[in-house]
Every structure is written in structure tokens, then in C-alpha cells.
């Protein structure tokens, strides 16, 4: 008896419409993972660096021996500008300059300065793996010098022995030269500033998208759709009305969620760096662009949801249709969090750009770095995407699909435009 019930449940639930989105998303996640590559492999790679040793003393020799052993040195000369150019061209991490008097200062109980010129390519978590490896190397250099100090003479200041060098960081990130920050610090700061928007976008899309898809499912389940479609109201107004109503519900639900989430996030806030000091602060036009990006992405998401919602047969099947939206939102969050748009492979760039929700997630970071073309291009794309999706939704509303699951063929752009007017 119980076997019979299990068989019935399985047959009802294990259908193509519920299986297909999961298969597609599994393939997409697999491709994303394969394209990004293995974190483990990246960590084991030696960081590519250039070195300019202007000191030539005992301690710079120690530093050089540690660095040449544990890093791939592509420039070892005396011209800092030439070295920096070489590092840039070879996709290196940084140029380390050991100035004159480095060893002399240490002998004089003063920490030796190491100038590090970082080449930062992206602000995602995975983009900082190479610079993180170099940070570890600097620790190894310090350890080597400390060992030498202890071996040579025990009269050195213990504070010097524990920290024999200091760093002067300069980071070149896209068009900006940021003094006093390493890529790790800069990445952390950008992440702490821009993490909230992707989470807000994700919650908005999931909450509002779920509402609009469920609304379509409930119209069919409650047998109200036929009546609605015979009322004297344009199909485009029905579509837009459903989108806006769902957006309002989504905004309220996401706001409630974000109250709790922001409390949670404040416990992780550790950066007291003032963005304005580094030329990264956003102005009113920037915030306006972020707002427009967020709005168009929400509309794009909802228009996609309403198209998906037309496939819902009832409330339960509507719930299954929310999954692709959730997965797309998650893919956007993960990719933009782990990698910078500029540093991901071309295939992923196309995927990320094509997912409309990605654009507000990337907008804040892009605007901090004056990358207006990505943000404005994203807004234009999501607006066009929304218009196309609304046109598709209206066309479906004008067809037989909603009631019968099939479409009476009526080809042609003219018919599409005519359909929108109805």
C-alpha cells in the first residue's frame, strides 16, 4: 500500500518541468566551476614578481634569497619603472623595491623599508589569491631576517627582531593608484562596502520573483485567470500590474529580511578606512546609477518571472519554477563575489553580463573604480531585456498558451506590436 503511494508521489513530482531547471542549473554551476579553475592549484602557484634591489647589503641578500626561492622572479634589475612595466606585461603580482640603506637601517636598530608596488587586477575573493601568497612571502622574508639577526648578535632590539621590516604599499588597480593599501586591504574594504547590494538584489529577485510566479500559479489553480483575461484591460497592463504588485511585496519582504541581515553583517564590519581618502568615494550621480541599475534589474527579473509563471499549472508547479531564478541570482552573487568582472574568462563574462541581476551587484564596485561603461551598458542591457520579456509575456497572454498550454501560431513582428497594444 505504502509503495503505491510512494510510486504515485514520485510520478507526480518527478516530471520534466521540475527536473529540467535543476539539470540546466547543475550544468551551469559545473561550467562555472570548471571555468574559474581550482583554488588549490592557484594557491600552490608561485607568485610572479619583480625585484629591484638598490641596497645590496646582508639583509637584502637574505630577502632576495627567500624571494627567489619561493617566487617566480621575472625582473631582477635596478629600474623600478622598467620592472613595473615587466610585471604588468607578465601578469605579475607586484614589484618589490628594496631601497638603499635597507641593511644599514636594520643594523642601526631601525626597521628596513620594503616598497611594494602591487598590480591588482580584480577585487573578488579569488583575485587576491596571488597577492595573499606574496603577503606570506613577506612574512618569510621577515622570518629570514629575524633568524639572521638572532644568529649574528643578540643585542638587537627585540621589537626589531620580531618585525625587522616595514612595508610601503602602493596598489595599481585599473586606472587608479592607491597609496598605503595592499590588494588584500583594498579587496576587503571594497567587499565590505559592496557586499550588501548583491545580497539585497538576490533577496529582492527571489522574493518578488517568487510572488509573481506564484501569482500566476494561483490564478490558474483558483480558476480566476479566464475572468481576468476577459476584463476590459490591456494585456500589457495585466502583465505590468502583476509585476509592480509583486515588486512591492518583494520589496517589503526583502526589507524585513535585510533588517535582520544588516544586524548580522555589522558584526563582520572591520574596515574603518575612509574611501574618500583613496579616491574611491561615491557621489550622488553614482548612487543614482546604482538605484537605476537596481530598479531595471528588478524589472528584468520580474519580467522573466512572469514569462516563467505562464508555464505554471498550479501553485505547486509555480514553486518549482522559482528555482531557476534563485539559481541565476546565486550564480550572479557567487561569481561577482569571488571574481572581478574583468578577471573572469570570456565565457563567464558573457554569462554574467547576460544575467540581468549581475549588473547592480557589480555596479558599486565598478563605480568606485570609475568604470561607468560597464554600469551604463548594464542598465541599457537590462532595460532592453525587460522590454523583450514584457513583449514575450504579453504575446503569451494574447495566445492560447495560458489556457491550453499550446500556442496558436501568429508569426511576425507586426503581430507582436499589435499584441502589445491590445
Amino acid at each position: 500500500m505504502i509503495g503505491n503511494i510512494i510510486k504515485k508521489e514520485f510520478k507526480e513530482l518527478f516530471v520534466l518541468s521540475t527536473l529540467l531547471p535543476i539539470v540546466v542549473i547543475a550544468i551551469v554551476f559545473g561550467l562555472v566551476g570548471q571555468t574559474i579553475g581550482s583554488v588549490g592549484e592557484r594557491i600552490e602557484e608561485k607568485p610572479v614578481i619583480g625585484i629591484v634591489d638598490m641596497d645590496g647589503g646582508d639583509f637584502s641578500d637574505t630577502a632576495m634569497s627567500v624571494l627567489t626561492e619561493k617566487a617566480e622572479v621575472i625582473y631582477d634589475g635596478s629600474d623600478a619603472e622598467e620592472g613595473l612595466e615587466e610585471v604588468r606585461e607578465e601578469n605579475g603580482v607586484a614589484l618589490l623595491v628594496i631601497p638603499e640603506n635597507f641593511s644599514q637601517n636594520i643594523y642601526a636598530n631601525q626597521p628596513g623599508e620594503i616598497e611594494i608596488y602591487w598590480i591588482m587586477r580584480g577585487a573578488g575573493m579569488m583575485d587576491s589569491i596571488s597577492s595573499g601568497a606574496l603577503e606570506g612571502l613577506i612574512q618569510a622574508v621577515n622570518q629570514g631576517i629575524s633568524t639572521k639577526l638572532i644568529q649574528e648578535d643578540s643585542s638587537f632590539d627585540p621589537a626589531l627582531v620580531l618585525a625587522p621590516t616595514t612595508r610601503i604599499d602602493t596598489t595599481f588597480f585599473k586606472e587608479k593608484e592607491i597609496e598605503g593599501l595592499s590588494p588584500s586591504a583594498l579587496g576587503n574594504m571594497l567587499m565590505s562596502q559592496s557586499i550588501v547590494i548583491p545580497i539585497v538584489v538576490m533577496m529582492l529577485i527571489i522574493m518578488a520573483g517568487s510572488s509573481v510566479i506564484s501569482s500566476m500559479g494561483m490564478e490558474k489553480e483558483n480558476k480566476t485567470l479566464e475572468t481576468l483575461l476577459t476584463l476590459p484591460v490591456r494585456r500589457s497592463h495585466v502583465v505590468i500590474g502583476k509585476m509592480v504588485g509583486s515588486a512591492l511585496v518583494g520589496v517589503i519582504m526583502a526589507a524585513i529580511y535585510m533588517i535582520g541581515f544588516s544586524r548580522y553583517m555589522t558584526s563582520f564590519q572591520f574596515s574603518d578606512i575612509n574611501l574618500a581618502d583613496f579616491g574611491l568615494a561615491l557621489g550622488m550621480p553614482d548612487y543614482l546609477l546604482i538605484g537605476i541599475s537596481l530598479f531595471t534589474a528588478l524589472l528584468a527579473g520580474l519580467s522573466l518571472c512572469i514569462v516563467l509563471g505562464t508555464f505554471a499549472k498550479n501553485y505547486r508547479s509555480a514553486q518549482a519554477l522559482v528555482f531557476p531564478i534563485t539559481a541565476l541570482a546565486l550564480i550572479s552573487v557567487f561569481i561577482t563575489m569571488f571574481k572581478d568582472f574583468d578577471t573572469i574568462p570570456a565565457v563567464l563574462k558573457v554569462l554574467v553580463f547576460a544575467i540581468p541581476f549581475s549588473h547592480p551587484m557589480m555596479a558599486m564596485r565598478a563605480l568606485m573604480l570609475d568604470n561607468y561603461s560597464l554600469v551604463i551598458g548594464g542598465i541599457a542591457y537590462t532595460a532592453v531585456f525587460t522590454a523583450i520579456m514584457i513583449a514575450v509575456a504579453v504575446r503569451i497572454f494574447n495566445s492560447d498558451r495560458l489556457l491550453t498550454g499550446s500556442v496558436q501560431k501568429r508569426a511576425g513582428l507586426g503581430k507582436l506590436v499589435w499584441g502589445l497594444r491590445r
Binding site: 479566464e226 475572468t227 476577459t230 476584463l231 476590459p232 489556457l403 496558436q408
Partner: protein, 238 residues
């Protein structure tokens, strides 16, 4: 002017032909019934006229408006009651009537519509309860109220008394008749032959997507030498 003119209407669902070249007319102030068994094509025909389905071939006009080109105009003058209709469960009955009436009028016109809807539904105090709590009969009465309160020029009613008990069915038939007296044309479908005899001025017998006979009840009974319309229908499809 004819309320409805259907000429050689064909409707296909993929490879399946649900309606195969039917023609009929509905006059103003008339109750016209499409009568036939389940799957005969009655609901499909009503859905086409109610602007819900596309036409495969043929022509349909409603008060001179051509479908599908003037579907927007048609929706302003029709009211459609599907056989298996529902109302929004989180709304009260009164809120549901308000929601529908707002599409058809404002101010006094709106108030009058809602008042008429309340009278037709006749749900007493329960009109202020959520639709979710209504019985099937109560929901149907609300929906009949919704369909007729807007003073349509053409009411398209698919099995209007479906799911109602004898008393409620009789009441709904009385409401339909009074609407017709006020000038509304009614196109209804039914497989309840008694109801058809009581209600319709003219009928068309439909089977397998084809109209096999049409006329007044008396004409059809005479034509097929039948004691009632059910017998006439059986003889007509043989």
C-alpha cells in the same frame, strides 16, 4: 444589429480540431444556447467569442466588432462566466465585486454595479467574509453576480447553474431572464436539457465540433418528432 455572428468557425488545438466550421447568430435580447455533450466544443466556442482563444479560421463578430482585431472593444461589452470559475480567495465577496466593477465604471455607475452584484449574489452578511470560506454554491452565486452586475451587452455563460442546488439554480435562471428583459443578449452552454427548455429562446445542438441542428426548442422537437429536447438531440446526432 446581431449580438454575435459566427461564420465557419474552426478552432484547432495542435492536430486536434475542436470546432469544425460552425456558424450561428445570437440576436439582441435573446438567450441562445449551445447544447451538447462534454467535449462537443461548446466551451471552446464560448472561449473564442470571449476573446480568450485565437481563431484558426472563420469569422466572429460581437455587436459588429471583429475578433481578434477588436478584442479590446469586445471585452468592454461582454461578461464571461467560465464553467469552472473561481474568485480571489483572500478577498471578501464584496471586495471581489468592487475589484471587478472598477474595470467597468466609476462613481455612481460603479456603486450601482456593486449594489446590483450584491443583490444578485444575495449572500447576506457572508458577502463580507473571505471567498475562501464560501461553499461551491455561494461562490457560484457570487460569480453570477459578478458576471451580470456590469450590465454587459452580451453575457457568455458556460454552464451557469453548474454545481448549484435546485433552489439556487432556479434563482440564477430567474436572474438571467430578468437580465434579458433589461436588454442583455445571453449566449450560454449547457448539457442540462431541462434548463435549456426553460431558458433558451433558440438553441444549437453541437456534437464533435459541428452544429447538427438549430432552431427554437419547439422547432427542434417538431423536426425530430421528439417529446423533449434530449430526445431530439439523440436523434439529431444519429
Amino acid at each position: 444589429m446581431k449580438a454575435v455572428e459566427v461564420r465557419e468557425l474552426v478552432k484547432d488545438y495542435g492536430n486536434f480540431r475542436a470546432i469544425n466550421g460552425i456558424s450561428f447568430e445570437v440576436n439582441e435580447g435573446e438567450i441562445f444556447g449551445l447544447i451538447g455533450p462534454n467535449g462537443a466544443g461548446k466551451t471552446t466556442a464560448l472561449r473564442v467569442i470571449a476573446t480568450l482563444l485565437q481563431i484558426t479560421s472563420g469569422a466572429v463578430t460581437v455587436f459588429g466588432y471583429e475578433l481578434p482585431k477588436e478584442a479590446g472593444e469586445v471585452r468592454k461589452i461582454i461578461s464571461y462566466l467560465p464553467e469552472e470559475a473561481g474568485a480571489y480567495k483572500n478577498l471578501t465577496g464584496k471586495d471581489y465585486l468592487n475589484f471587478i466593477a472598477k474595470f467597468f465604471g466609476e462613481g455612481e455607475k460603479f456603486q450601482n454595479m456593486v449594489q446590483r452584484g450584491l443583490e444578485i449574489a444575495n449572500l447576506g452578511e457572508r458577502i463580507n467574509d473571505k471567498v475562501d470560506t464560501y461553499s461551491k454554491g455561494m461562490t457560484r452565486r457570487l460569480l453570477v453576480g459578478r458576471a451580470l452586475m456590469v450590465n454587459p451587452r452580451l453575457a457568455i455563460l458556460d454552464e451557469p447553474t453548474s454545481g448549484l442546488d435546485v433552489i439556487n439554480a432556479q434563482e440564477v435562471r430567474r436572474i438571467i431572464n430578468s437580465s434579458v428583459e433589461a436588454g442583455v443578449a445571453v449566449l450560454l452552454s449547457s448539457h442540462n436539457m431541462l434548463e435549456v427548455e426553460l431558458l433558451c429562446h433558440r438553441i444549437a445542438l453541437i456534437n464533435d465540433g459541428i452544429i447538427v441542428a438549430s432552431g427554437t426548442v419547439e422547432e427542434l422537437k417538431k423536426e425530430y418528432d421528439a417529446g423533449n429536447i434530449e430526445e431530439a438531440f439523440v436523434k439529431a446526432i444519429k
